[in-house]
Symmetry: D2
C-alpha cells in the first residue's frame, strides 16, 4: 500500500516507525497510509527550514514573487490531478474541489504582489536631516497546521504569503487527506523554490507540539476546531510565539420578509450542503423573520432539496459527497437525532441516504430541520454536516440577538432588498465576515479572512493584507549622517 | 497624607481597604499613598468601560478625534504641572520629564488623524456587481498596564489610539508614580471625553490578574520587564485575548573606527545616563571596534562625564536624578560590584555620589566600565541604571555577533560615516529599532515602537500604524443586491 | 472708506493705484474698497513666496503641522468674527457661514496629519543590496484662485494642504468678498507661520495671468466657473505648470417612487436654496420618476417652501440671504423668466420677494419650477440661484440618461430605499460625487472633492488624499553602497 | 516589401494610401514599410476602443488582471522573437533588447496586482450612520504615444496599467521601429484580451493630433523629446484632457573623490554607451570633483573604453549598436565636433568607427570628451548618442549647482562612500530620479518613473503607483439609508 511521506529539504521521505491509515470515504475503505512523524522528523524539517532561511531572506521580493507566478501556472496546469487527489481522500465532488483550488490559487496571485505589499514607510526629516523608515522583515521559520476540509485551499492561505515575505515554512497538513497537499508542495519546488524553504511533515499531536515548542519556529498559523485553536493559541503564546488560530463556526443567515425567496433558496442550497457542510463558512442556520417568510422558506427549500444528489467525487452531476469518516458521520446523525428528540421537526431527512454502489460510504443526505431553538444541542454546537436548521423569530432584532449571543462569530448573511436593514445588520452584527445577499461571504484573496469571538484567536486575520503583517516584523531605522568632510571639502587629500 | 485613588466612570474614588506608600526618591521619604484596588474595584472599572462602549463605538471617528485635539492643547497648557508630578514621584529632572511628555503628546497628535487611519479598503466588483470592503471596528474594552519609568509617555502610547479607534479603556499605571498619570486622565475628561470611556485603577498583581482574566477585556497592552511581559502575554492568550507585551532591553552602540568620536561621546552621555538609565531604550553597552576607537572612547567619555550633575528634579542644571527605589539603587550598585569582581575596570565610579541636601535620595552617579565581556552578569542582564559598559572587539562582525546573540533585541545604534557599514548593520542586526548615528532610535509617533526577540511578545508593535490594527478588528462585508423591481419598473404601483 | 489690501511677506499693504468697490449685498450699497494688484505686486508676492521656500521646505513636516494645530484653534476661537465678515460681503446667513467655516476647518485638521500623509514608499532589496524609496517633495511656489461663494472654505481647501506639504503659497481670493479670507490669513500668521510662506493678493485678470505665466509658480488650483476653469487649465499647461481647475455644475437628484417623500423634501430645501443656491454642489434639478412621485414632490415642496425666510445675514431665523450682485440677481431672474417662456410652470415664484428693511438688497426668493425639459435654457445652464427645477420622467433609466447627457458631472443624488437601485446608480452615473439619500454629497475632508466631465479639469481632485499628490512631486532614490573597507577590516588604519 | 499596418478592434489592417519606410540601421537599408494612418483610421481605432469600453469597464479587476498573467507568460515565451524585431529596426544588441523587454515585463507584473492597487478608501460613519467611500473608476479611451528608443518597454509602461484599470487604449508607437510593438500587441490578444480594448495605429503628426483633439480620448501619455512633450501637454490640456508628457534629459553623475574609481568606470560604461546612449536615462555627463578624481576618471575610462565593441544586434559580443537614422548619426557627430571646436578635448573619438561588414550602418563609437564646460552646445542640449562628457569642478556644491541649473531634471547619480554626501545630494538635487552609486536609477516597476523640471509635464509620473491615479478618476459616494420599515417591523405585511 502507498505510504504518503514527508517533504523535507526538497526530498520526499517516509517513516519506518509509525503510519496511520487513509480512507476513501466514498467507499469506506483504507486506500493508503500516511507517515506519522516523530519529534525528530519534525525537528529535521525545522532544521531544514532554518538552514534555508538566510539565503531566502536575502533574495529580493521580486525574485521570490516570480516563483509564485510559475507556481500559479503549474497549479492551473495540474488542476485536474489535484482535484482527483482531493476527491479520493476527502470525498468532495470534482467541481467543488476545483472551486477550492481556484480560491487557493487566488492566494498565490496575491502573493505575486509581494514587491508592492512589502513596501515600508519612509519619512524624510523626522527631525532636521534625520530620516526614518520601516521595513517588513521576515520572521524566520514559521509553521502551518491545517484541517482536512480544505486540503488544498487552507495551506494555500498560508504558505505562499509566508514564503513570499521571506520566511521558510513547515506545514503539517491533515493526516486524513494529505495527498493533494503533498502534490502541491512538489509543484512549488518545480516552480523553482529552493530546497528547505517549504517543508511538509505529516503527523499528529506529536508533530503539532514539536512545532509549538521548538524555539526556532517563530509563528504558527492554524485552522481547525475551536478547542484545538485555543490550545494552539495559548501554547504558542506560552512559548513566546506569535499565533493566529482559526476555529469553529455557526453561520446564520437572516431571511427577511422582503427577500426574494427563490434567490434565497438557490443560495442556501450550496451554502448549506456544499462539501457536505464541512466548511467553516457553511451556512448551517437560517433565521426566518416572520411567519410567512418561515413557511415559504421551508416549503421552497423542501422542494428544491429533492433534486440534490449525493455521491462519489468524480461524478460531476453529484452535488456533494460523503463525510470524512465513519465517526464523523455518526456524530452528524447524532445531532439530527438530538434535534428531533429535543422537539425540532426534521422536514427533509438525510440520515439514511441511498447511494447505489457506495453502500459503505460515509454519506449523509441533505437535511432540513424546522423549529430549532437556541437551547438545542444541535444549535449550540457546530455540526459540520449537510444539515440546515431553521429558527423562526418575529423580528430582525431577535434574529440579530441570536447571532450575537452565539459563541462563534465567523460568517453570517442577511437576505433583504432594503438598504437600511443591510447597513444596520452589517454594522451591529458581532461577526467578522458579513454577507449582504451573499451566503458565503468568504473574502477574496486581497481582503483578509477572519471571524470574531471564539472563531479566531489572535489579532491578525488569515491571508490578504493582514497576512503581510503576520508573516513579517517591522524594523524601524532612524538615520542621521554626521559629516565626514567629503561634502564640504574643496581640497581633497582624502583618503591619502 | 494624600491618597491617590482611581478614576472610574469619570469619578475619582479611593479604597478604604488597602494602600501602598509612594516615595519621593530624591529625598527618600514617603510623601503619598496610593489605593490598591481589589478585584471588585477593577471589575467596576471594566463595567464602566463596558457600559460606555456602545455609544462611544458609534461616535464618528472625527468626533472622537476632536477630543484628542482638545486633549493635546490641555496637555501643552498644563505641561509644567505634569512635569512636577513626574519629578516628585519618579525623580527625573524637569527637562527630561518635558521631553517624555512631548513624545507622549506626539501620540495624541497621531490619534488626531483617526479619520484617515481608520479607512477600510473598498473593492468594487470583486465579482460582477458584487462589492466588498473592510472596516476597522473597535474591540470593546481594552486594558493597559504601564511601568514606572515613563508615567506620562507610555500610557500615552496606548490609550489615545485605543480610544480614538472606538474602544473604551482601563489603565493600570505603575503604583510607584501614578500622580502624573491621574492628572493626565483628568485632562482627557476635561477635553470632553464621556465618562466611562477611560478609567484608571491603581493596584498590584490582583488588578493585573483581574484585567487578564475578565472576559470583557478584549486586549491587553503591556510595557515592563521581560519576565512579567511573558507572564502577561501567555496569560492573556490563555484567556483568549490579543496581547502586545513589551519587555526588557540591552541596547548596544557599535562605535566604528571612522566615527566622529566627539559626536559619539556627546550622544552617549544622554543616551546612557539620561533618566538615570531607567529607559528601555537606554544605551547601556558601547562596543568599540578596534583598539584605538576603544581607547579614545574611554578617554573622551571619562573627561566628558566629569561635568555630569546628578540631583533633584526641579533643578534644571541637573542632568539626571535618583533611581526609583532604595531596592533598585542597591541592585544597580550590585551590578557595578559584580562587574568589578568579574574583572572589568570601573573607570568612572558613581556608586557613592555626593548630592548635597539629598543625602537620603536614591542616587547613583554616572558610571563607566571598561573591558566588560559577554559572560559577565552585568552584561547579560538589564541594569536599568546610569551605567555604561564598554566591550572591546576587533571587528564589526564580532560586534554584531554580540548583539545578535543577546536575548534582547529592542534598540541599537551604529556610529559610522560609511554608507555600506550602516546598511549592512541595519539589514543584518536582529533588533527592532535601529539607529544610524542616532543613539536612541525611538520611532516617531507615526511609525511604530517595538523590539525583537525577548523584548516584545506579540505580532503588532506599540503606537503608530501598528496600533490601528492592534486596537481594531477587521470586519469584511461582501454585498450583492438582488433586484427589487424598483430600478427596472416603468409603471410604479409600489408599494401601494 | 476701508481699503482691503494684500498680505505679502507677512505684511499688509494697499495699492495706491487701483481699487474696486465691495458691496454689502443685503443693502445693495458699497461698504469697502479692495486693492487691485498690478503685475508688480503679484510678482512681489511670488518673490516673497520664493524667498521663503527653501527654509520652509526644510522644516520637518511635523513642525509644519504644529502650526496647523494652532491655526485650527484660532479659527475656532474667532469663528463668529469670520462669519460676520462673510455675511457682510457675501450675504450668507451666519449659521450657513458657520457651516462653511466648519468644513474649512476640517481641511486644516486633515493637514495636521501631514507626517502620516507624506510618507514615501521604501523597498529593501529592489535588487541584491540595492534599496529604493520615494519621497513626496514640495513643488515650490503654488497659487490658488478662489471664488466668491465660499470665501473661507475654498481657500481652506487649498492652502493648508499646500503649505503643510512644504510649499509656499500665493492666494488670489475673490475680489467681491475678500475680508474673511484676509482675516483668516492673519490668523495663520498668528499661529506661527513664517512670513512669506502664505501671501494673499487681491486683484483681477491681471493678477490671474501673472500667476499663470510666472515661471516661479509651479502649480495652480482654481475653483470657479467652467469657462474660466478651461482658460486657467489650458493657460497653466501652456506655461508648463500642473493645474487642477474646478468648474460649474448642474446637480440632479433622482426621486424614486419608493423614496420617503417627507425626507426628500426636507433634504431638498437646504440643498436647493441654502446659500441662495450659490454653491457648486447646490441641488438645482429634481428628477421625479413616475407621475405620482412628481405630483407628491411638487405638492410637498410647495407647502414646505412657504415657511422659508430670506433676509439679512445676522438674523439666524433667516434661511438664506441675497445674491452676490445686482447683475447676478438679474441673471437668475432671467433664467426663471426664460423657463416660464419656454413652457415650464413656475409653482413657487421668488422673483419679487419682500424683505422689509432691505428693499435694495439683491434678493431672490426660493423658486420652484415644474415640467422643466432638457432643452430649456434654464436646464442647460448653471443658474447659481435659489431655484429648484423639476423634471419628470417615467423611469430611472431616463433619469440617469439626463444626468449622463449633461455637460457637467459634479454632484448628484438618488433618493430610494432600494439597495439595488442605489448601487446601479452609483456605479453607472457619470458624476464624481454621488449621494445615496444624501443631497449634498460633499466628501469629508479626508476624502477628495472633484467632479467629472466639464466640472473639473486635471487629474487630481481637491483636498484629501489627492491634494497630497497634487502639492508634491515624487523623488525616487535608488541606492547601493560599495564597500569602503570599513566594515570588513580587522586592522584599522583608516583614515590615517 | 512588408507593410506594417495597424491593429484595430483585434484585426490587422494596412493603409492603401500612405506609407513610410523603415530602416535596418545596422545596414542602412530600407527593409519594411509602415502604414501612416490618416485621421479616419485613427478615429476608427478610437471608435473601436469606445465600443469596447463599457463591457471592459464592468469586467472585475481580477479578471482583467488574469489576462496580464497570461500576457506575461507569452512575453517570456516569445522574448527571443521580440528582441530580434527590436534589433532589426532599432539596432540595439540582443542582450540590451532583452533587458528592455524584462523591464517592460515587470510593468505587466505590476498590472497583475490590479485588485490590490484599485482598492478605494472606505469610511464608516463620516457622520452618524453615514458612510462614504471612494472608487477608482476608469476614464474611458486613453492614448499612448511612444518613442523609437524603447519600442517594447515604453509602451509596456503605459497600456498594461491603463487596461487593467478598466480603460481601453489606442497606442501610436514610433513609426521607426513598430514591429516589436505590433507583435507584443498580438500577444496581448492571444492572452485573451477582448477585441477593441487595445488598438495600435501607426502614423505621424496627423495621428497624434487626432488623438489629442478627439473628445472621446480622455487622457494622453507621452514619452519623447521636450519640445514635443510641451506641445502634447499644452494641446491635450487645451482640449480638456489629462496628460503626462515625459521629455528630454541630461543626466549627470557626480564622481566624488572618495568613490571607488574602478567601480565608477564599470558603471559608467554601460550607463553612458549602452543602447548607443539613446536612452532618456543615459548618463551623458560625469562631473568629477577635484583634480585627482578627474584625472583618474579620464585615465581609467579611456583604458576601459578600448574594449568596447560596436556592431550588429544579433552578435552578443557587441556592446552597442548603430544609431537610429543617418540624420541622427550626423547630429551626434555634429555635437562632438562642436565640443571640440568650443574647446573641449576629445579623448576617445568614436566619430569614425570601423564595423566590418556594416559599412553603411549608422554607427558612432563610444566617445569620451574632457574639459567640457557649461556653456558648450554639447553640454546644454541632449545628444542622445554614445558620448560621455566630463566636466571638472572643485567642489560638490559646484557639481550640484551645475545639475540644478540645467533645464532638465530626469536622472542623476552620485558616486561616493559617504553617507552624508549621499543624503545631502539626494535631498537637495532638483532631479526626479536619483541614484546613489547607481548610475541608471530607473525606478523598479512598483515605484514610479518621472523627472522634474522640463523633463516631465504633468503631475503624475509614469507606471507604478502614480499610474493607478493617472488612469483612473475617483468617484466618492456618500450614503445614508432612511428606514423602509423592514428592519423595525414586527408584523410584516410588506409587500402585500
Amino acid at each position: 500500500m502507498d505510504v504518503i511521506g514527508h517533504l523535507i529539504n526538497g526530498r520526499r521521505s517516509t517513516e519506518a516507525t509509525r503510519t496511520q491509515v487513509v480512507f476513501n470515504p466514498a467507499i469506506g475503505e483504507v486506500t493508503k497510509e500516511v507517515s506519522i512523524a516523530p519529534k525528530e522528523t519534525v525537528e529535521e524539517a525545522i532544521a531544514a527550514a532554518q538552514a534555508a532561511y538566510t539565503e531566502w531572506r536575502d533574495t529580493p521580493a521580486m525574485k521570490r514573487a516570480r516563483i509564485m507566478y510559475r507556481f500559479k501556472a503549474l497549479l492551473e496546469e495540474h488542476s485536474d490531478r489535484i482535484c482527483e487527489l482531493i476527491g479520493a481522500e476527502h470525498g468532495k465532488i470534482c467541481h467543488d474541489a476545483a472551486g477550492e483550488l481556484q480560491r487557493g490559487i487566488e492566494n498565490v496571485e496575491y502573493a505575486c504582489g509581494a514587491p508592492e505589499l512589502l513596501k515600508g514607510e519612509h519619512t524624510k526629516n523626522v527631525g532636521p536631516n534625520i530620516d526614518a523608515w520601516s521595513e517588513f522583515q521576515p520572521l524566520g521559520v514559521v509553521a502551518g497546521i491545517t484541517p482536512f476540509n480544505f486540503p488544498a485551499m487552507v495551506p494555500l492561505w498560508m504558505f505562499p504569503m509566508a514564503i513570499v515575505c521571506g520566511n521558510t515554512f513547515v506545514l503539517k497538513p491533515s493526516e486524513r487527506d494529505p495527498s493533494s497537499t503533498m502534490f502541491i508542495a512538489e509543484l512549488l519546488h518545480e516552480a523553482g523554490l529552493p530546497a528547505g524553504v517549504f517543508n511538509v511533515v505529516n503527523g499528529d499531536k506529536v508533530a503539532v507540539d514539536t512545532l509549538l515548542e521548538d524555539k526556532r519556529v517563530k509563528a504558527v498559523s492554524f485552522v481547525g476546531s475551536t478547542p484545538i485553536a485555543e490550545y494552539i493559541y495559548s501554547t504558542a503564546a506560552a512559548n513566546g510565539k506569535r499565533c493566529q488560530a482559526l476555529g469553529g463556526a455557526k453561520n446564520h443567515a437572516i431571511v427577511m420578509p422582503d427577500a426574494d425567496m427563490d434567490n434565497v433558496v438557490n443560495q442556501l442550497l450550496g451554502a448549506a450542503f456544499g462539501s457536505s457542510g464541512e466548511r467553516c463558512m457553511a451556512l448551517s442556520v437560517a433565521v426566518a423573520v416572520g411567519q410567512r417568510a418561515g413557511d415559504e422558506l421551508i416549503e421552497k427549500m423542501k422542494a428544491a432539496m429533492e433534486s440534490l444528489k449525493v455521491g462519489e467525487c468524480s461524478d460531476k452531476t453529484n452535488d456533494f459527497g460523503p463525510l470524512i469518516t465513519k465517526e464523523h458521520k455518526d456524530k452528524v446523525v447524532g445531532y439530527i437525532n438530538s434535534a428531533e428528540e429535543q422537539g425540532a421537526a426534521v422536514i427533509v431527512d438525510g440520515r439514511n441516504p441511498t447511494v447505489p454502489g457506495y453502500e459503505n460510504g460515509y454519506f449523509v443526505g441533505a437535511t432540513l430541520i424546522d423549529n430549532v431553538t437556541k437551547d438545542m444541542t444541535s444549535y449550540e454546537e457546530e455540526i459540520f454536516g449537510p444539515v440546515l436548521q431553521v429558527v423562526r423569530v418575529d423580528t430582525m432584532e431577535e434574529a440579530m440577538q441570536l447571532i450575537n449571543d452565539h459563541e462563534y462569530g465567523n460568517g453570517t448573511c442577511i437576505f433583504t432588498r432594503d438598504g437600511e436593514a443591510a447597513r444596520y445588520f452589517s454594522d451591529k452584527i458581532e461577526v467578522g465576515m458579513v454577507g449582504i445577499n451573499v451566503p458565503l461571504p468568504v473574502p477574496v484573496s486581497y481582503h483578509s479572512f477572519g471571524g470574531w469571538k471564539r472563531s479566531l484567536f489572535g489579532d491578525l486575520h488569515a491571508y490578504g493584507p493582514d497576512a503581510v503583517r503576520f508573516y513579517t516584523k517591522r524594523k524601524t531605522i532612524t538615520q542621521r549622517w554626521p559629516s565626514a568632510g567629503v561634502r564640504e571639502g574643496k581640497t581633497f587629500s582624502f583618503p591619502s
